[in-house]
């Protein structure tokens, strides 16, 4: 994978790419989302 034979190396690249994809999706989905508990505490 990625032109690298050793899984010990390409797994590191795979993890970094996975983290990047996760962060983008998570960041966009939760961009305006605050902690619900905290909101309810504030409302009380």
């Amino acid at each position: 994978m990625f032109g690298i034979d050793d899984p010990g190396i390409w797994l590191a690249y795979l993890l970094a790419f996975a983290c990047l994809v996760f962060s983008v999706i998570y960041g966009i989905v939760n961009w305006n989302k605050d902690d619900e508990k905290e909101n309810s505490q504030r409302n009380q």
Binding site: F2, D6, Y13, C19, S23, Y26, G27, D34, D35
Partner: protein
């Protein structure tokens, strides 16, 4: 590029920093502003500051040089920086840390621990650990910046070191955390653009693609010098031989030490206490991961691939060309990048140094003024920041002095060492303050002390990399390390100290529960 033009660029840069420091100064009204920015920092600025603080010259010059010498195994550090340092830290530590900080009105990491465990002693010990161990890390960061300037610009290292230390000192002392954060955000953007450009430029000048470059690097594994093969080196796209000295250094010191240690760094933990709500932390995950991927990931990748460049242009691999690991990346920039980029990269390196240094100086100053001597200068005005400012000055002087005692090849190791001590000392108590309510004050205190003593003991008597240069073990017992049979001298102190401090906090808490 002419020295005059370089000088003008640096002067403009310094003026912008001074202006941002002045903005921080103008917006700082009391000690809460000075320490935490009144907990209302913009998430973009917080995340950029978190990333810029994370990535020092150590990450660029030190670990980039490690990648050039030992290969892409160091990319685990990038992956762990993203996974542990951003995703785990923001998701599982950030929100709870922020809430705990608000609940106890804590402004520093030692205050957070001291107030949570209701122990003045814990607060003071945490402050002492920070104030004693962090200058070593700060000195390593200073050296990273100075090495680069010396290499590329042929400037006197002492003058370069002095000027940028004074600049950082001015905006940290005057602007407080706001000065630090505003300058960090600017510096983070400079670092992001520069390191991304280095990545793109490599493929342009070598005229190859991502996969092809990796394959070519695999094909030159036979060029690994014998001295590195003996340490376990199998090529730049392969992990070292499992259990070899290089494997232990890479896995236990660099990857685990920094990968785990980044969770419990006081200067990063306080970033979580600066934002207003968890929404800001969610945004921080996105910004932080992108930042680390394209900065740290780029330089480690190019570090390893620089061997292809040096082979093509100089006829030899990087570590054959320069013996000092810390000088490989500066040499690559000098040889491979366009002339005008030298100035940009100089700003990048100054930014990397300054952003990390400013956070360290601020954290050490806070440990001194807000935690160790909270009454200093506050007899008339309880909101005075004079003690923290004095602490910053003392921290700068100590770090500056240590910087002159450092030898070659220390940048990556010095960083790993500090983060290892942080992990062993602070991580169990920090984690338990967020997740384990049954942990007692006595358990926390015992864990901190165990972490400190186990780390120091392992460095002095067990781990070859520190024990031999320090020499205490030899002078007391006549041997380099107490356990000489392989692999014990290669195992990082973190692997002794962290399990011990975790075990201690559990056992002592169970024994002292009421």
């Amino acid at each position: 590029m002419s020295t005059l033009l370089l000088g003008i660029i640096v002067i403009i840069y310094v003026f912008i920093l001074a202006w941002l420091g002045w903005l921080g100064y103008r917006q700082t009204k009391n000690s809460s502003d000075y320490l935490l920015g009144d907990r209302k920092i913009n998430p973009m600025i917080m995340a950029l500051s978190y990333g810029a603080t994370f990535i020092s010259t150590s990450a660029i010059v030190g670990f980039g040089g490690v990648a050039a010498t030992f290969g892409m195994g160091i990319q685990w550090l990038c992956a762990l920086n993203m996974f542990v340092g951003v995703i785990i830290a923001f998701l599982f530590f950030g929100g709870r840390t922020r809430a705990l900080g608000v609940k106890h009105d804590a402004h520093t990491f030692p205050q957070l621990m001291g107030y949570y465990y209701d122990s003045l002693l814990i607060k003071r010990i945490c402050a002492a650990v920070i104030f004693i161990s962090m200058p070593i890390y700060a000195a390593v960061v200073m050296k990273g910046g100075a090495v680069f300037i010396e290499q590329v610009f042929n400037l006197d290292i002492n003058i370069a070191l002095f000027i940028f230390t004074v600049v950082v000192a001015i905006y940290v002392i005057s602007g407080g955390i706001k000065g630090v954060l505003y300058t960090d955000a600017l510096q983070g953007m400079i670092m992001f653009a520069s390191l991304l450009f280095i990545l793109v430029w490599f493929y342009k000048i070598m005229d190859i693609g991502f996969l092809e470059a990796n394959r070519k690097l695999t094909d030159i594994a036979y060029l690994v010098p014998d001295r590195l093969k003996d340490l376990g080196h199998q090529g730049w796209t392969a992990m070292p031989v499992t259990g070899s000295p290089q494997w232990y250094t890479l896995v236990t010191s660099l990857i685990m030490g920094v990968g785990i240690g980044c969770l419990a760094q006081p200067q990063l933990v306080v970033r979580f206490m600066m934002v207003e709500n968890n929404k800001q932390l969610n945004r921080g995950i996105l910004i932080g991961c992108i930042f680390i991927f394209f900065t740290v990931g780029s330089i480690y990748h190019i570090g390893a691939l620089s061997n292809l460049f040096f082979l093509k242009t100089e006829g030899m691999i990087a570590s054959e060309l320069v013996s000092d690991i810390d000088r490989i990346i500066p040499l690559y920039i000098d040889k491979a990048m366009p002339g005008w980029f030298g100035a940009i990269f100089m700003l990048c390196m100054m930014s990397a140094s300054m952003s990390t240094l400013s956070a360290q100086f601020h954290t050490m100053g806070a440990a001194f003024g807000a935690d160790a001597f909270p009454k200093l200068g506050r007899s008339k005005n309880p909101n005075s920041t004079i003690a923290v400012r004095i602490g910053v000055v003392v921290a700068i002087i100590v770090s500056y002095a240590i910087c002159y005692t450092l030898s070659a090849n220390v940048i990556a190791r010095g960083t790993a060492l500090f983060m290892g001590v942080c992990a062993a000392t602070f991580l169990p108590v920090y984690f338990c303050s967020l997740y384990c309510k049954w942990v007692t004050k006595e358990g926390a205190l015992a864990s901190i002390c165990t972490g400190i003593f186990a780390s120091v003991f392992a460095m002095l008597f067990l781990h070859k990399a520190e024990a031999i240069p320090i020499g205490l073990c030899r002078s007391l017992f006549g041997c380099d390390v107490l356990i000489e049979s392989y692999p014990w001298p290669m195992i990082d102190p973190l692997l002794f100290a962290l399990p011990l401090s975790i075990t201690t906090i559990i056992l002592v808490s169970l024994l002292t529960r009421k």
